[in-house]
Amino acid sequence: MTDERSLLGRAREYEPEALAELYDRYAPKMYSYMYRRVGDATLAEDLTGELFLRVLRSIRGNKAWKASFSAWLYRIAHNLVVDHYRRLPPEPDNPLDGSLEGTCDDPVAVVEGAAQGERLRVAIRRLTPEQQEVLALRFGEELSAAETARIMNKSTGAVEALQHRAVASLRRILGGEEL
């Protein structure tokens, strides 16, 4: 495997082979992350493509990737997801304003008839973007608290607290139903 630093140096010069290798190396992982965040395969694929375009356009002017390319990718991916939801018209069932309590009188009714996984997915969408991100990184990408902290530009303790609040909020949204 080519040394990543040299690969990134070549990508910075827009060398197609280096870019193709970077894409092949990271796109599947970033697609998975996108899917976990948006729950739609086609949309996740589109956003993954957009993510690499942003990488290409920023790699010359932005030095953030030098610390950790992978962390930089996750940050851009998170911003893309947030941008995507901002563009959508507000939906009563899909609020992203961070207000959790009292947004749904009967959460079970909202997801009535849906699969158990879908219920959970809907519930996750009611969390704040940061809470969604921490869950996706910790339980989806299976990153450590320290790795997650680096991606989210937070301390490890702040990440652990955020994760705790996210799980508690999720449980509250689901109304304590059996999972």
Partner: protein
């Protein structure tokens, strides 16, 4: 809040997140978009670099004679520069608009003239090779845009792109030997990439559009194969072939005949070349000889006399030699005549390649406008 429900919930989250479907398009579209954008950005960088280089080139044009440039070509360079200047003055930022134009647009000719001027103001072979490949990237981008707009690809665009790739290869053959491998490697990389872009653009395009894109892709393939050949062979194949060659569009170029040249034309050109070469050689030789033999005479007188004598001698010798050479070249040129795209036939094994001006001018005669 108990620990047990949280653990259940976390396990459930892990299960949910592990269920990721295969991407519907296998992530191919994103890859294609990324590489196409890389081509565009790379071309922009090349353009900026070459623009900066072009600012210094005007001084070199006047101050050096690194490449032999006849008066006609110099005149045409000036004419082209003036044309662009007029275009800039008359249309303000027209050239900026022209950069994004495609065949059929009002500003497209301005774009081509701008490319020709940049070409004629560049001297270094490695940079000319990069410049020509930058133009190829422009053609690829134009074809991609046309395909997305559902329009057919004009033959002239494919022919122009083919010619520009050939021009890049010729410049590589003339580049410093230490630069050649890296330049060839870049040609291989880029042609492979451009092929992907062209093939991607052909997906779902109309049949007529696909035909043009496939022709362009095949031309890419030929160039890539050529670039993958032994550099020595490449050098031999193209050596001296493009001396005084026209610009990549064939517009600002010395007058050329269509197809093969006549024997008389070849004789005249070879006489000029040989006279220049022989004058230079003989000047040096005679200076040395005369210093020894005719110390009392001034060097200036000897130089003048010897130049005249040698010119006459060389003209006679060269006429004889050129008649023989041109007969061979014209015969060979018909055997390996360029195709419609200016494509040159490779010599068969055992048949020594004869890089002829006839072949080059045949390929460059396609104005492609």
């Amino acid at each position: 809040m108990t620990r047990q429900p949280d653990e259940n919930l976390e396990n459930r989250l892990g299960e949910l997140y592990s269920d990721v479907p295969v991407p519907p398009g296998d992530l191919a579209a994103g890859r294609e978009r990324l590489l196409a954008e890389a081509v565009r950005l790379q071309a922009q960088v090349t353009d900026r670099t070459l623009s900066a280089f072009g600012a210094g080139a005007a001084g070199r044009l006047i101050g050096t004679r690194r490449r032999k440039m006849n008066l006609l070509l110099a005149y045409k360079v000036l004419a082209a520069v003036m044309a662009v200047a007029v275009a800039l003055a008359g249309m303000g930022g027209g050239v900026v608009f022209a950069a994004d134009s495609v065949p059929g647009d009002l500003m497209y000719p301005v774009k081509l003239i701008s490319e020709d001027v940049r070409w004629l103001l560049s001297w270094d072979s490695a940079q000319r090779a990069e410049l020509a490949m930058g133009f190829v990237a422009e053609r690829v981008e134009e074809m991609e845009k046309l395909a997305h707009q559902g329009e057919a690809i004009p033959d002239t665009v494919v022919a122009r792109m083919t010619r520009q790739m050939e021009q890049a290869m010729v410049e590589i053959a003339e580049a410093r030997p230490e630069d050649v491998p890296a330049l060839l490697e870049r040609v291989v990389e880029r042609t492979r990439l451009y092929q992907q872009v062209l093939e991607g653009a052909a997906t779902g395009a109309a049949a007529q559009t696909q035909t043009g894109l496939r022709e362009a892709s095949q031309a890419m393939e030929r160039t890539r194969q050529n670039a993958e050949n032994d550099p020595k062979y490449l050098e031999y194949q193209h050596q001296h072939q493009y001396e005084g060659a026209p610009g990549p569009h064939g517009e600002i170029s010395p007058p050329q005949g269509e197809g093969q040249q006549t024997q008389e034309q070849n004789q005249e050109q070879n006489q000029e070349q040989n006279q220049e070469q022989n004058q230079e050689q003989n000047q040096e030789q005679n200076q040395d000889q005369n210093q020894e033999q005719n110390q009392e005479q001034s060097q200036d007188q000897n130089q003048d006399q010897n130049q005249e004598q040698n010119q006459e001698q060389n003209q006679d010798q060269n006429q004889d030699q050129n008649q023989e050479q041109n007969q061979d070249q014209n015969q060979h040129g018909q055997e390996g005549a360029p195709g419609t795209d200016g494509e040159q036939s490779l010599p068969s094994s055992g048949d020594e390649p004869q890089p002829t001006r006839t072949q080059q001018q045949g390929s460059s005669s396609d104005k492609g406008q």
